[in-house]
């Protein structure tokens, strides 16, 4: 009997190893299998994640990390101002386009789907999270995910009609989607890749020389000065289109032309030029610029995300609005 049991264990082990080998060569089936297993883990993980975030928040409160408050609030307000400035620039561009009859004015319509981070990946080698929303909610791979933190959490008296000031930053993209769960690829993950824009900023009281394309096709330097109307930094000149990737720790922008003059403090936002994303979704701030050793005309830019990904719990998934699409709706 013992011999038979031992033999059967060997056969079972062989079968399981063959199944694993099959999962390696048939990744599509492996992905479906993972999707099928997830619902068993989600309820337990969800509770654990809540405990984790709760403990982290309380720890920050006790150690005073969360009351770094005033400076942070000012920074957040400056970002709001930056957002408004982008909107002004965008509106000016649209007015110009309408005036010339060269385009049509189309506002971006989207649905923000609230979702919750239910688990992290079991290894810290990848920066990914499991979200408690999936295909049944209209989520698809490629959808952008933002933070869902409100600015009025702190005890500040807000004007009556102002209901919520959001701190909405892009945290990543959906990479894989099951029926009731989805994998969020954080912006710092090594597989993350997204089109974005860098806004060159000019600080209060400062000026900045930016090379701008002239109508003739060449480039000419233009000096931008801070207008002094607000305490925050202003964007100087048009944004620079870039491709954002993650390196496991930060966001990296490779092979950016050095003559754009990107420097620390500049702001990275989502690229809304194709009309696929709402305006002004901030991603992060430039912290370092390195000249390429092999190509002197290019630089590598390192960006620190605005969002605190370690304590991420509540997020919005940005679902683009389709008129006829049955899967996605809203406005």
């Amino acid at each position: 009997m013992r011999f038979a049991l031992r033999l059967s264990k060997k056969w079972i082990l062989t079968g399981l190893c063959l199944a694993s080998a099959a999962m390696i060569v048939l990744p599509g089936y492996a992905r479906r299998f993972r999707h099928a297993v997830r619902p068993a883990l989600v309820p337990l993980s969800s509770a654990g994640t809540h405990v984790n975030v709760h403990l982290r928040t309380r720890y920050n409160e006790i150690t005073g990390r969360d009351t770094a408050g005033e400076g942070e609030k000012i920074t957040a307000l400056k970002r709001q101002i930056h957002l408004m400035q982008q909107m002004v620039v965008h509106q000016q561009g649209q007015i110009q386009a309408l005036t010339k009859w060269s385009g049509t004015l189309k506002g971006f319509r989207c649905k923000l789907l609230p979702a919750r981070v239910v688990a992290v990946e079991s290894l810290p080698l990848r920066n990914r999270r499991l979200l408690g929303a999936g295909k049944r909610d209209g989520v698809e791979a490629g959808d952008v995910v933002t933070t869902r933190r409100l600015f009025h959490e702190t005890p500040i008296a807000l004007p009556e009609k102002l209901t919520a000031l959001g701190r909405t930053y892009v945290v990543g993209q959906i990479s894989d989607c099951a029926a009731h769960s989805a994998t969020l690829l954080l912006a710092t993950d090594r597989k993350f890749r997204m089109n974005a824009q860098i806004w060159r900023m000019v600080e209060p009281g400062g000026k900045r020389i930016v090379e701008v394309k002239s109508p003739g096709g060449g480039r000419r330097p233009i000096t931008f000065r801070h207008r002094g109307k607000s305490p925050g930094a202003h964007p100087a000149g048009p944004p620079v289109p870039v491709t954002a990737t993650g390196d496991g720790r930060r966001i990296v922008l490779k092979d950016v032309a050095a003559d754009h003059g990107i420097r620390s403090g500049d702001v990275l936002t989502s690229d809304n030029s194709a009309g696929l994303l709402p305006l002004g979704l901030s991603i992060g701030r430039v912290v370092r610029v390195e000249r390429n050793v092999k190509a002197a005309h290019f630089v590598t830019v390192f960006v620190e995300p605005f969002a605190d990904t370690a304590g991420l719990q509540e997020v919005y998934i940005v679902l683009p609005y389709h008129e006829a699409g049955p899967g996605k709706s809203g406005g």
Binding site: I24, G48, S122, N127
Partner: protein, 177 residues
């Protein structure tokens, strides 16, 4: 090792994976090469490899633990952790005759070697086979080394906890301590 013991081991793996995907994040810290944190199921696998009664049992239990890790990962390389865990546990079982397996230092070294074996291969496959990554090839390797060291430090602790519940997992006589 009876099937009842495997059911208990599945429960241990499930609990381990839930802790690792939730509260385990509290143990992570940020380094210049990325986040580094421990792999608790690797420590359990070391315990299984060192104290399981038979090689088949060790490999089977290792496969279960690797499969549990696998189910919480995303992207390419599905199936690989389970195979590597099974091979790692069987390997530890084969060499344990020449080890002082009750010693904390032994458990640390084995924990480190196990993690390097499993996760360096997994990372190499992820980087070389399953697609383009940012940050080059050197950073993920360093990050995996960090994970291995961190796990090695915690392995004796996990082994000490599991040793107390060993009678629920299997009955084994230690030949060399």
């Amino acid at each position: 090792m009876r099937w009842f013991h495997f059911i208990i081991l599945i429960f241990v793996a499930l609990m381990g994976i839930v802790v690792q995907t939730t509260a385990g994040q509290l143990l992570w810290f940020r380094t210049p090469v990325g986040w580094v944190g421990p792999e608790l199921l690797a420590a359990v696998a070391v315990f299984v490899g060192l104290f399981a009664p038979r090689a088949t049992d060790a490999a089977l239990a290792g496969w279960m633990l690797g499969f549990a890790v696998d189910m919480t990962l995303s992207g390419g390389g599905a199936g690989l952790p389970a195979l590597l865990y099974a091979a790692g546990c069987a390997g530890i079982f084969q060499i344990r005759g020449v080890l002082f397996r009750e010693k904390a230092l032994t458990q640390m070294v084995i924990g480190f070697v196990f993690c390097v074996f499993v996760y360096e291969i997994w990372t190499a496959c992820d980087v070389l086979i399953f697609g383009r990554t940012g940050g080059g090839y050197f950073r993920p390797i360093l990050q995996t080394l960090g994970l291995s060291i961190y796990t090695a430090v915690l392995t004796p602790l996990v082994c000490a906890v599991l040793k107390r519940f060993q009678k629920f997992l299997w009955v084994a006589r230690s030949s060399r301590t």
